[in-house]
């Protein structure tokens, strides 16, 4: 080592740390931003599903019965959904967000969203429990559709894509609009 200022290194390190810190912050922020964006999109999609899928009449007790979206508690998408539920309506029905725990079983809802963080075994159980309840099962995990889910969010690059298993929807007496099918990747 030469005669370099002793502080340079420290400053550089500091800077670097700072930058890294900022970067990590940014990154975090980015990540956070990206995450919130993602959640927003997904929430929007869930809302859209309400519009592009047709439930049988028996799924609703009445014309004013709310449209229920079920999500697990602590799902980060809840915030966005709540925001959405405040503003929007589906078919003039108010949107209700029902958060539940897995041990509660599958609530009565129209759309059930299982995020990727949910353990596969839980997902399997829940999917199994949701069968026959006219629930549109929306997930993210890789094998979601294999489990029996109808729709799967897939992150492709910067976008959120949809993969749809039509049969699963049909099994639940759900009709998916061709428009939705058009923009999604239909797997069966």
């Amino acid at each position: 080592m030469n005669t370099k200022p002793p502080y340079l290194l420290q400053s550089l390190l500091l800077l670097l740390t700072l930058n890294l810190g900022i970067a990590s912050l940014h990154a975090q922020e980015d990540v956070a931003a990206a995450a919130s964006r993602e959640h927003r999109i997904k929430a929007a999609y869930l809302y859209q599903f309400g519009r592009y899928v047709q439930w049988p009449a028996k799924a609703f007790s009445s014309a004013e019965a709310p449209f229920v979206i079920g999500i697990l508690k602590q799902d980060p998408i809840a915030a966005e959904l709540d925001q959405l539920a405040l503003i929007k309506k589906i078919e003039n029905r108010p949107i209700q967000i029902r958060q539940f725990s897995p041990e509660d079983g599958v609530p009565s809802c129209h759309i059930l969203f299982l995020s990727a963080f949910v353990m596969p075994e839980v997902q399997t159980v829940l999917v199994g429990k949701a069968a026959g309840k006219n629930i549109l099962l929306v997930g993210e995990s890789e094998k979601f559709l294999n489990l029996g889910g109808a729709v799967r969010f897939v992150i492709e690059g910067n976008n959120v894509r949809l993969h749809i298993a039509r049969k699963a929807a049909v099994r639940e007496e759900l009709i998916i609009s061709s428009k939705l099918l058009q923009v999604a990747r239909v797997l069966d």
Partner: protein, 822 residues
């Protein structure tokens, strides 16, 4: 085409001459130049109408179509946008640009769409078509609402909201080329124009063909009219072309030509008629002119003739009297000369009388009387006048009254005598052998309204040709001038006689055979014959003696007495004095009326009155009328004989009214004068106050009583006015008497006579009463007509003499009248 019909050969009258081809062509060109406007007008009319209609309809349809196309295009594009937009909602909502682009890519099927893009709700372009935009293409701003715009550059821009209206999911924007639209529009335009052109062409063709129906008749009419004017032929007619206005036009044209033709022919007829009349009138005028020329020539001849006729005897008179003044002529020679002078003088008198007569007749101033006269008397007198001459020539004279002859006829005896003497004289003059006969007979039955009596003079003389006979009665024209020379005469006698006969209601007609003789019939009206007595006819032949007729006048009877001659003419004084003295009369001559009066007065004082006064009517100082009336008013009753040159009846009457008893016309005939004087001397001697006139007097005017008659009661204060009234009314009574006598109304006559008888006596005219009484008796008893009439004449004479007032009061010579009164 030249715009004209090609069958002008049909123009013209159906029966007229054909139109000359050259002329026709010229006419066509000429007509085409003129009538181009008519056909052109019709064509233009049609074309304009069709053109306008077509243009309007094409335009309307065009506009309509264009609008429809645009609408449909924009609807199309809108629909496309809507569909695409609806299909893209998922893509936009799910942020699937790829799918959205794929969707838009389907616009490839719409070649018109050049560009399209999807906008997300934020207004960002989400997907485009074509997927790869060309560099630098400006993307339009995100639309905010639905709109459909046809840009000026020929593009259609449609912007549509995607999704339900209340949800703004984004917009879809389409930018389409409208060149197809343009093409379609242009296609329409061309089609429309083509249709227009074709239609116009067809309509022009049709119009051109169809306007013939109108222009052809009109052109024909025009041609016909021009022909009529050019050829002045009004027989041209045009064919009928149906019932429309053109038909009416043609029919009207024909009708007008009919009228014109008729009018013209009427004018021609009138003109011909006029010409005929003018020719006729000209002929008449020529005839009249010839006649006038003949008459003028005849008048000139007459004047020459008359001049000659007058001068010839004048020559003899002057010549022989000149010889008489010479020495050395023997007594017998002198006697001869005097005879000659006398004869010529008489002849000249006859000529002058004839000239005067014919002048009077020509001037229409001749008058004839209608008074009773005896045809027997007149005929006998005329015959006896001819006797001397007939005997001298050794020819017989015969008078025959054939059938019943009325005793009296209403006529003019003077004129009748004149006619008879004229014709008989001619007959005797022109007969050398044989004789002359006068046959008197009634030509008509007395019952006829206007009966006539005929005097026929038949001679066995030289006769004459018919041409000579026809000119015989014309004044100034003798049978021929040789006759005048041979037989003398004025040539006027027959003309005068004929005229007189006509004025007497008849005529003279004659027939003649050359060498055999002539016969002249005088017919005159007789007046009503109902109550006239008829006498039967007889024949009397006058003896033909062989005694040499003496040319010397009969020895004058000797008279004695005193005569006063009031005459202012020296020659007449001498002549008359000589004649009277020769007859043994004492003559006193007065130069005028005043002197005559003086002589009368002095003669009366000497109680040696004149037997007869011969009073010339025209004298200075005091004329005969005044003198005579003066004498009469003084009570002079002696005969006064008027010497007058006037021979008219009114003048005679004037003389008699003045108080004369008789008159002698100048020039004084010696024998006649002596006869008259003798007559009145006798009368005076026998002191017959009232004359007894007979109708056989040579003077037709009856003589009157001598003195005026005054009423004895004239001065009576009570009756004086009545007397005057009676006198004033007397002329009416006289007229009444005469009228009754003329109409042979004896009843009325009786009545009037009775009235006069009564009144005359009452008003002191006692002298009238007995005469009136006699008349009344005679008329009432139905005596002979002659008697009645003679009594009437007597009465009339008396009546004419009555005067109002008293003799003394009327005259300043009252002292002198005293001896005459009473």
């Amino acid at each position: 085409m030249d715009g004209l019909p090609t069958d002008l050969a049909g123009i013209g009258p159906t029966n007229g001459p054909p139109v000359i081809p050259g002329e026709k062509r010229h006419g066509r060109n000429f007509l085409s130049a003129r009538n181009r406007t008519l056909a052109a007008k019709l064509n233009l009319l049609t074309v304009a109408a069709v053109g306008v209609a077509l243009t309007l309809s094409c335009a309307a349809f065009f506009v309509n179509d264009v609008l429809m196309i645009r609408n449909s295009k924009s609807e199309q594009l809108s629909a496309l946008a809507t569909i695409l937009g609806a299909n893209s909602t998922a893509a936009i909502e799910f942020n699937d640009a790829k799918t959205a682009t794929e969707l838009l890519a389907s616009l490839h099927e719409q070649p018109a769409v050049e560009f399209a893009c999807l906008y997300d709700p934020q207004g960002k372009v989400f997907a485009t078509y074509p997927a790869d935009l060309p560099q630098g293409l400006a993307l339009p701003k995100a639309p905010s609402e639905n709109c459909t715009i046809f840009t000026h550059s020929g593009y259609l821009d449609v912007a549509q909201n995607i999704g339900p209206a209340d949800e703004k999911l984004g917009f879809i924007y389409l930018h389409a080329r409208m060149d197809e639209l343009q093409k379609q529009i242009w296609g329409y335009v061309w089609i429309a124009l083509a249709v227009l052109a074709v239609s116009l062409a067809v309509s022009m063709l049709l119009a051109h063909q169809l306007q013939r129906f109108i222009t052809l008749p009109i052109l024909r009419l025009v041609e016909a009219m021009q022909r009529v004017t050019r050829e002045d032929d009004y027989s041209i007619r045009v064919e009928q072309v149906g019932d429309g206005e053109l038909g009416v036009l043609n029919a009207g044209f024909n009708a007008m030509l009919d009228q014109i033709g008729q009018a013209r022919s009427a004018v021609c007829r009138a003109r011909d008629e006029l010409e005929d009349r003018v020719a006729l009138r000209t002929r008449e005028l020529l005839v009249a002119k010839d006649a006038a020329e003949v008459a003028s020539r005849a008048k000139s001849d007459f004047l020459a003739n008359m001049s000659h006729e007058i001068r010839t005897p004048m020559t003899a008179i002057l010549g022989y009297s000149d010889l008489l003044l010479q020495q050395g002529t023997s007594k017998s020679e002198r006697e001869d000369f005097v005879q000659i002078i006398h004869r010529n003088g008489n002849h000249l008198l006859g000529i002058i009388n004839d000239i005067l007569d014919i002048s009077k007749i020509e001037a229409g101033k001749m008058t004839v009387e209608r008074i009773p006269c005896s045809p027997r008397q007149l005929a006998s007198e005329a015959i006896s006048l001819m006797q001397v001459r007939a005997t001298a020539k050794g020819i017989s004279l015969q008078i025959e009254f054939r059938g019943p002859i009325p005793d009296f006829i209403q006529s003019d005896p003077t004129r009748l005598r004149q006619i008879l003497i004229n014709l008989l004289g001619n007959a005797v003059k022109f007969t050398e052998l044989g004789g002359v006969r006068l046959v008197v007979s009634l030509l008509d039955s007395p019952e006829t309204p206007n009966p006539r009596i005929g005097f026929e003079v038949i001679d066995t003389g030289v006769g004459m040709q018919p041409e000579q006979m026809s000119s015989l009665f014309k004044p100034f024209a003798q049978a021929d001038t040789s006759m005048t020379r041979r037989f003398g005469g004025t040539g006027l006698g027959l003309a005068i006689s004929k005229r007189l006969a006509q004025m007497l209601g008849g005529d003279i007609t004659g027939t003649s055979v050359v060498g055999k003789g002539s016969s002249f019939l005088i017919s005159i009206e007789t007046g009503p014959l109902e109550e006239i007595r008829m006498s039967d006819g007889f024949t009397k032949v006058l003896p033909v003696t062989t005694d040499a007729p003496s040319d010397k006048p009969a020895a004058d009877s000797q008279l004695s007495g005193r005569i006063l001659l009031a005459e202012d003419g020296i020659d007449n004084q001498r002549f008359i004095t000589f004649v009277l003295k020769k007859a043994g009369v004492q003559v006193t001559v007065a130069d005028n009326g005043q002197i005559a009066l003086d002589y009368v007065h002095s003669a009366h004082e000497e109680e040696n009155p004149f037997d007869v006064i011969l009073m010339d009517m025209q004298m200075p100082v005091m004329d005969g009328y005044t003198a005579a009336s003066r004498l009469r008013s003084e009570g002079y009753r002696g005969p006064i004989i008027a010497l007058t040159a006037h021979a008219m009846a009114e003048d005679r009457q004037k003389c008699l009214d003045a108080g004369c008893n008789d008159y002698a016309t100048k020039p004084i005939d010696r024998q006649s004068l002596l006869r008259t004087v003798a007559q009145w001397m006798d009368r005076n001697r026998t002191n017959n106050a009232s004359a007894m006139p007979t109708i056989s007097e040579s003077n037709p005017i009856r003589a009157k009583s001598t003195a005026f008659i005054y009423s004895a009661l004239a001065t009576d204060p009570r009756l004086g006015d009545l007397v005057d009234l009676f006198v004033q009314e007397m002329p009416d009574r006289i007229n009444a008497l005469e009228t009754h006598a003329r109409s042979r109304d004896w009843q009325q006559l009786t009545r009037t006579a009775h009235q006069i008888k009564g009144s005359a006596g009452s008003y002191g005219f006692g002298e009238i009463t007995p005469c009136a009484a006699r008349l009344e008796a005679a008329a009432k008893d139905g005596c002979q007509e002659e008697q009645i009439l003679s009594t009437l004449d007597e009465l009339l004479s008396l009546c004419r003499c009555i005067r109002s007032g008293v003799p003394e009061a009327e005259d300043e010579l009252s002292t002198r009248t005293a001896p005459f009164a009473g």
